[in-house]
Amino acid sequence: MNTRPSLFSLTFSLPLLIWQLAFFLFPLAFLVALSFWTVRNFQMQPDFDTVNWVKIYSRSVFWDAYFRTLLLASASAVLISLTAFPASYAISFKLGENAKRWMIFVLIIPFFTSYLVRVYSLQVFLSDAGILNAFLGYLGLGPYSMLNNSFGTLTGYATLCLPLVILLQVFSLNFVNRDLVEAAHNMRCGRLRTVLEVIIPSAKAGLVIAGLFAFILSFGDFVSPLYLGGGNPPTLSIMITDITKSGQQWPRAAVVALTMIATLLTVAFAAIKFAYREAGK
């Protein structure tokens, strides 16, 4: 078949292209341009000045926040993936078809609840005098400090990402060739060892992509670090809002945002490359 553009092919490919060009590329370009603007007298002015880049990149507090956010998001991706895996494994390998379908349905439900509302509700559970500590107190434990620190932030990230990560993991585990599992058993590979040596390598691409999603969502999220982390210490997303508080410093915030976008693209690219890397030559 010829693949020259036809009325047909353009009908399907152009709308998205036009829409994203019109409504996304321009805002994105604006963002890039904005990062070279200057602010005078609380007003942003079109300009071409690298001052914002120099200023942001020369501040150690930016780099602290940058690496902290990177660390938090990585920890989130790893911890959530680790927590999710036994559940995903059990759903995919230990449940019947019907139970599996129900479980997937149940895990879709959180997507239809407001993240803000969930985080707000979590505050009530996590605070020093909250429901969880009251419950632990019953058991003679605690109180533990679970709010306004990285634990709180990570808990929030988990609220945001865990259902998605489990779902993505289940989908990739469902594709693991069951013969491979039996073949491994047949070759003296015990239960746990098979998970490590066969199931995880087989589902690697999906597991990495699931982790990547957790990373992307956590890296950019500002709700959890603010409402559960108490902004203490701040992440990049909080820093963006902070920067605007020095009187309309959106251009500098744009520098941070562009750095975040670049980071996410790099990580995504590396993760996808790793996910699909093959053994051997």
Binding site: S127, D128, P234, S246, Q249
Partner: protein, 349 residues
Amino acid sequence: TPFLSIRAAAETVNLSMLAWYGHAEPDVVGEFEELHNVKFIPKYYTGGDNMLGLIAQSPPGTYDVILSDAEYVQQLNAAGYIEELDPNDYAFDDFFPEFQRFPGHWKDGKLYSVITRFGFLGISYNAEVLSESDAASYNIFGDSRLTGKLGHFDWHLPNLGQISLLNGNPDPFDLSDEAWQQVQDSTMALRGQVGGFFDYGGTFSSLKNGQMTAFAGIGDWITGVLEKNGANVRTAIPEEGGLQWTESFSIGKGSRNQEMARKWIQYITSPEGQAKSADMAAYPALIPNKKGWVQLNDANPAEAKRQNMVLGSRNAIDLIREGRIKYRQLPVQQSLEDWNDFWSDYKGA
């Protein structure tokens, strides 16, 4: 029912208001809406800078009336986002003298904004843990009982202003480089005490649920609401003095309802409007109109008393006159950015 009120709104004037949450709720605007057959369309913001960003990128005329903190009036004006007002339209004569020509609201003799309410910022604390005498000095921030339990309202101006007061600066925002350095040092010394940096909502809940024992940078606008809901929290103005926040109304540049906007500002600065404003459901405040005080004392003596707005006895205005209260304002000798940068460093430390 909701449907009827939506239909009714269709025939009336729509007046858009850009404000902090609560200023266009029925308890404040209801009477005015009925009186003038207008309907307020509120746009609530959650931070002055977002508000400025929003206005900056919206077409002129989007917002008819704009409520902002006094510091932002200058910025709004400098950027040309608000209309000049006619001083004769407003009953400044009824105002306490200190609010008749409020700084930043006038430029080159022209009026741009009318003060509508204000409040004091001091030490907000949980009265079950701290006593009033504990809260008599900002030094309590360093107390071991507050380790991990000291909250900051996440904005540099009120917090750094308070530390500046603690350092004994007579004008907390007009600092020599040396004094500014000392403010930074004193602030940084507190970092280990801090349990979190909160926005409005976070401030509310963490004081209420006991997560934070004391807060810097807030006042009765938080604790007043919590008190009304039965929480044992207070705000004290310590010996070193307190700060004053101020909210003012302006008319948005290019508004097509300037007449109605003017009427609204007149109404909310009138004695009736002022009495409502003082007891606004979202958060209470002091009012600059003396006749408003009278009205409030008639209508709601308990609230007048709670907020210390009783004429004839030692009241809130006296605190200002005694010099215990300083207006919150933009830094004079440093740039706003310097302060903000330090605040970021502090948070990130």
